[in-house]
């Protein structure tokens, strides 16, 4: 099957039921996307599939055929969210943060100026065990303001 990852065309001829997380991490060495729970419950593996946030640990390769995957490595360094994340010094251990940023990017695409309730609703499936939530909230707001 053919798909694109971060704008590059990629071929895949393995098990169509393999979750895309392992294709990204083990075959493409795109290890910015993390394994957290394997059940789409923690958000650490969040990537975009045709522009929408999905959990890479449960989406099979078959579902990505002829589609475009974007990972944290495919988001430009000067993206407003990445800049805001650095500005607010959000990450502690950092392990959940690529998933947080991908989820937040999805939110800002749909809702460029989210309020607290919209942020909460969009981000509630992304666990951060270091408890950086206040900074995540602040960084999303900063990013939203800067992209106006």
């Amino acid at each position: 099957m053919k798909l694109s990852v971060n704008g590059k065309a990629v071929d895949y001829d393995g098990d169509p039921q393999m979750p895309i997380l392992w294709f990204l991490r083990d075959e493409l060495q795109l290890t910015g996307t993390k394994f957290g729970c394997g059940r789409a419950l923690c958000g650490a593996c969040t990537v975009h599939l045709d522009g929408q946030a999905v959990r890479a640990c449960v989406i099979p390769m078959a579902a990505a055929a002829d589609k475009a995957i974007t990972t944290i490595e495919g988001i430009p360094s000067e993206h407003s969210l990445k800049l805001a994340w650095v500005k607010h010094n959000v990450p502690q251990c950092g392990y959940c943060q690529s998933g947080q940023i991908m989820q937040a990017a999805d939110l800002l695409q749909r809702t460029p100026k989210p309020n607290d309730a919209e942020i909460e609703q969009a981000m509630t499936g992304n666990i951060c065990r270091c408890g950086t939530y206040t900074r995540i909230r602040d960084a999303i707001k900063t990013a939203a303001e800067s992209s106006s």
Partner: protein, 770 residues
């Protein structure tokens, strides 16, 4: 907020947001790497009568099925007692305990082959709770004691007396990165371990022990961890050891990264506790005597339970003086995973018992709990002084009264308390509560020998610097703080310094990065190494600058005549000159915390270099029909001394509080009748998410009025653990709200964690009593 040393950004800030910051399971895999999968026990306690792995071993792609017989050294990973077989010999002691491990070319083959290993068991009676263990007297080690005065006599003499019990739930670490290790035996026969471990030296020792090697044949490195929280202090060791055994037996690089369910089922957690207490006090609520019996659920092996229990015992007092105290502790032996270190290390459980007792007194006397709290604070100025802990250490540099007063004012505590009373008068279904609670937390490892650290500093002739220290990075920002220390001492910019991966071949004999002491210990060791090299550079600089040695100053990547920026030369020029003059530009640094002593048998001594203080005000709203609560506002004031890095310290305070909030309100471990963990995924184990943290969340750093009597690195204080206990304010605020459903109740029991179910039950109990 950038540009100065106090707010230097996280050293991995860019790596974290670009995905380039690598964790253990993310280094480029070596050729021929193989995988591991365990065979799990379906029983909590059983005799193993037969293990038949022939069918599994015949599978294509299977290299070995490892059992106890394969261990060339000592088949034991126990860190204190040797009671923890890596692979069980004749019995399993908890549900899902690995009986054997399959080594195979791929994860799928390993998993399929594990299912083919036939194991016969004879089930044995299992002990599955603290309560059962107490009843059956299943304990590790003799009782531990902390005592001062004569608690028995003082209890009898006290005007008022109460007794009670409190059961406290455990907590899964749920570090986002599960246990992970990569092991390879290199061309020289050295076992190279890459492990997500908080304690590389102990991982090295355990791997060496299991393989029957001296320590010098094992190197353990720790990259950044995706969270540790104590869960990788000892419990990274078995996974490094099994990977090392597989690499040793099969001659291939081996990787292990536990799936989430396995991680939750196999690894130990924060200890559940059971407490029984008796307290004597007077009509003003002043403590006179306290007797406490603490039971910690150790699980199937001893692990770190003795020091965890001891830290609980020496934190029952929290910030309160009591003249006569007797605390006894026991470690329960149960057929559950072996409970271990978790941020606070028993301190939170001990403190929770203390706060429970304070609330009992307050309600009995119908006085506000905060009044009982502040009346009982340690105080050196009281007559007679009330500033000696139950373990006989004096409380010096005590700032709790001032900090408390500041927070009460800044949070408008008194005004809000009145407002809440009015709200509650007009609201039958929903009630609000507010509470303020203090934290006094002892900093240092109780075990004196752990309070040491080392560093290794290389300056290259081109003026670039490599820095190693013994601490590990798990998100707490230690590496960033250490960089801050080195740049401050050397007078150079951070970009000149390359911080190297923590490794046992660079700095040996290190302690776990734990006990909130990472920057205290390693910071001082780094400072010592830096000063050693500056002393060597100074004479060279003096000669070049034509000044006296004591006039030489290191500032802004230059060396100059102090106060005269015109007479200076670049740092790189100086280091090149030093090399040419044959000066050694490599040095170690070493630090041991002064003044510590501790007698664990007597429960007496001076275990802590100093105390960290804090206080928190929390306000909640509780629904009387569902028991659901909402946290409306938090105000935290915490003492970090002269912060090494304010943005990092604030992050630790925010995050520690959120983790404590989880422990006390929504994280509940449930076990099945067979001793299997039922809550083994985020679907059944509820961790705080963004919605649980209120937008009204004020965090301030306390500015102390007087210089401290201790010499901690640049006047800072450890911050990793203490803020977790600020979340006790949430539990007490919930209790206030629950109490508002039955004004005047002389006792308000509340389960820990205060889940909706526990809150609902607490309200129902009060209503039934009326």
């Amino acid at each position: 907020m950038s540009g100065n040393k106090a707010t230097m950004l996280h050293e991995s800030a860019i790596g974290h947001v670009t995905g380039r910051a690598a964790y253990t399971d993310e280094v480029h895999p070596p050729l021929g790497m193989v995988e591991l999968h365990p065979v799990l026990s379906p029983h909590a306690h059983a005799r193993i009568t037969r293990i038949d792995s022939a069918a599994a071993q015949n599978q294509h792609g299977v290299l070995a099925v490892l059992t106890a017989a394969d261990v060339p050294g000592v088949n034991n990973t126990g860190p204190i007692l040797r009671d923890e077989p890596l692979l069980p010999v004749d019995q399993v002691c908890h549900h899902s305990q690995p009986v054997a491990w399959v080594v195979a070319e791929t994860p799928a083959v390993a998993r399929a082959a594990a299912a083919l290993v036939a194991v016969d068991y004879e089930p044995l009676p299992a002990c599955l709770s603290t309560a059962e263990a107490i009843e059956q007297e299943q304990f590790f080690l003799p009782p531990a004691q902390v005592a001062r005065g004569d608690a028995g006599t003082a209890l009898d003499a006290a005007p008022l007396r109460l007794s009670g019990e409190l059961a406290i739930g455990g907590q899964d670490h749920f570090y986002l990165e599960t246990q992970a290790s990569w092991v390879q035996v290199d061309s020289e026969g050295i076992v190279q371990v890459l492990s997500s471990t908080q304690h590389p030296t102990e991982t090295q020792i355990i791997v060496a022990r299991v393989l029957g090697l001296p320590s010098n044949r094992v190197v353990c490195r720790s990259l950044r961890m995706g969270g540790g929280f104590g869960g990788k202090e000892t419990q990274a060791n078995p996974y490094a050891a099994i990977a090392a055994l597989a690499a040793w037996r099969c001659g291939r690089p081996v990787r292990i990264k536990l799936l989430r369910e396995l991680d939750m089922q196999l690894t130990g957690k924060r200890h559940p506790f059971h407490a029984r207490y008796e307290v004597g006090f007077d009509a003003e609520g002043m403590l006179q005597a306290l007797k406490v019996q603490l039971y910690a659920d150790g699980g199937w092996s001893c692990d770190l339970s003795p020091p965890v229990l001891m830290r609980a015992m020496v934190h029952v007092d929290n910030a309160y003086y009591c003249p006569h105290v007797h605390i006894e502790g026991r470690i329960c032996r149960t057929n559950l995973p072996s409970n271990t270190a978790f941020r606070g290390f028993g301190g939170p459980q001990g403190m929770l018992v203390g706060e429970e007792i304070i609330d009992r007194i307050a309600r009995h006397l119908q006085l506000p709990a905060e009044q009982i709290r502040e009346r009982n604070f340690y105080s050196a100025s009281a007559q007679p002084p009330r500033n000696t802990t139950p373990y006989h250490q004096p409380v010096v540099d005590n700032v709790i009264a001032d900090l408390w007063a500041q927070l009460k004012a800044s949070s408008e505590y008194d005004r809000r308390r009145e407002q809440i009373a009015q709200f509650n008068d007009g609201s039958a279904r929903r009630k609000r509560g507010i509470a303020i609670t203090p934290v006094k937390f002892g900093i240092s490892f109780n075990k004196t020998e752990y309070n040491q650290a080392g560093a290794l500093l290389h300056i290259y002739a081109d003026g670039s610097i490599q820095l190693n220290h013994g601490g590990t990075e798990m998100g707490q920002g230690l590496h960033t703080k250490i960089l801050g220390v080195a740049t401050r001492v050397l007078g150079v910019s951070p970009k000149r310094i390359q911080l190297m991966t923590t490794s046992t071949d660079k700095v040996p004999n290190t302690s776990a990065t734990a006990a909130s002491s990472g920057s205290d210990l390693n910071g001082q060791a780094v400072k010592a190494a830096c000063l050693t090299l500056l002393e060597r550079l100074r004479p060279i600089a003096a000669k070049r600058l034509n000044c006296a040695v004591d006039q030489v100053a290191f500032v802004d990547d230059c060396v100059q005549v102090a106060g005269d920026a015109k007479r200076q030369l670049p740092f790189a020029e100086l280091t090149a000159a030093a090399y040419a003059a044959r000066i050694s530009l490599s040095a170690t640094g070493y630090y041991r915390t002064p003044g510590l002593h501790w007698d664990p048998k007597a429960g007496r001594g001076h275990p802590f270099y100093y105390f960290a203080y804090g206080a928190a005000v929390s306000e909640v709203e509780v629904c009387g029909y569902s028991g659901v609560h909402r946290l409306l506002r938090c105000d935290l004031l915490h003492d970090v001394g002269d912060s090494l890095n304010e943005i990092i310290d604030r992050g630790q305070i925010e995050g520690g509080f959120v983790q404590g909030l989880g422990w006390l309100t929504c994280e509940e471990l449930r076990w099945g009748a067979q001793g299997q963990l039922l809550t083994n995924a985020p679907s059944t184990y509820k961790i705080p998410t963004v919605g649980e943290v209120p937008t009204a969340f004020q965090v301030d750093l306390y500015r102390r009025q007087a210089d401290p009597s201790t010499d901690v690195i640049f006047g800072s204080k450890g911050v990793g653990e203490p803020p977790l206990m600020l979340a006790i304010s949430v539990r007490e605020a919930i209790r206030e709200a629950v109490a508002a459903f039955a004004p005047g109740a002389s006792q308000v029991d509340l389960g820990a964690p205060a889940t909706p179910e526990a809150i609902y039950t607490a309200i129902a109990r009060l209503r039934a009593r009326r």
